[in-house]
Amino acid sequence: MRKLLLTSLVILSLSSCLKESIADAMLEEQKSANQGGSPAVATMTYVINGNTVTNSVSDPDSQSPTYYQLGCSKTLYPGTNNSIYSLDCVSTSGEFTFTFGTDSLTVGNYLYTGISGDLFVLSYNNTDEFVHVPTDSISFNVTSYSKGHISGNFSGRLTPMISAGNPDNTYGTPGSVLITKGSFKDVPVFY
């Protein structure tokens, strides 16, 4: 009986000496796994009204989680306690952004249409393009989400904003901006 008690106390004492909680240990495992599969480059390309835009970032995981050129970050939707994911790309031709309206990003299709209201999607050569009229839309397919990186494709139909005014903005021809052949690969997801 004494040996049994002694063995139990030794095991408990040793286990208590582990420096990390289970959550800390699992978080470290995930970080190590992500680093082991770190891609050399992340890319985003699309065609806007026949003009190809290509963006690539070397060593994308080394970017700042709060200030990056190409990445996807989980943030709180302003004014709420709900989380969203924002995919952003900043390039010389302008900015591109898409909001995944979910607090748990998974492989699947994410569609936003003009029925839900205006949504800024990108700026191209100093013109901002919006989902504006009900027939406008932007559709993202996340085809892969592995080791903290997403890949997929997208397309859309947008309306250009001619000028921002108060109280009303002025828009150009509805649905005149076509986004085709959109793809993104190995974009890091930051928490």
Partner: protein
């Protein structure tokens, strides 16, 4: 079920209050848990035990996170120090956590980690009667190993005995 009742001559049910201890447990409030236990007497002063528990520890983080929960199943050896089946006892246990989830705030967000892992526990208690009702006031220290880390907690519980038979029959 009939086989289980035939073998188990006594059972216990407990509600208890618990506290996570160790590294990074400052955000945890007091937890609570329950277990049911089968008791298999092997001598007048000792039992083998089989215990299934469920323990929950809420995070005191303003509502962002949910906390930790464990569902351990353990076998143990309970030994009464005075040679009878009442009084002070000690009880080492070993088992497996069949389901565990623990929350961690990562970059301001709550993230859940699901795990299993081996469980080790050591406990002591005092088994006594109030009238004809046997009660067990006990203190346990328990640790769960998983993924190179451990979660540890202390529990203080009051156990109610459910009698299916008499010790003398064994």
């Amino acid at each position: 079920m009939s086989v289980l009742l035939f073998i188990v001559v006594r059972g216990e049910a407990q509600l208890g209050v618990m506290k996570m201890v160790g590294n990074n447990t400052g955000d945890y409030s007091f937890g609570f848990g329950a277990f049911i236990k089968g008791i298999f007497p092997v001598s007048p002063a000792s039992d083998l035990t089989l215990e299934l528990g469920a323990n929950f520890f809420p995070l005191n983080d303003g509502g962002i996170g949910s906390g930790s929960a464990f569902v351990p199943i353990k076998v143990g050896y309970r030994y009464f120090l005075n040679g009878t089946d009442r009084g002070i006892y000690v009880e080492p246990q070993v088992g497996y956590n069949i389901y565990g989830v623990t929350s961690q705030i990562v970059e301001g967000y709550n993230k859940d980690f699901i795990f299993h892992g081996f469980v080790f526990a050591a406990g002591t208690g005092y088994l006594f009667d109030i009238g004809t009702v046997p009660l067990d006031l006990n203190l346990h220290y328990e640790t769960i190993f998983a993924h190179g880390g451990s979660d540890n907690y202390i529990s203080l519980g009051l156990t109610y005995h459910i009698l299916f038979g008499k010790r003398e029959e064994y």
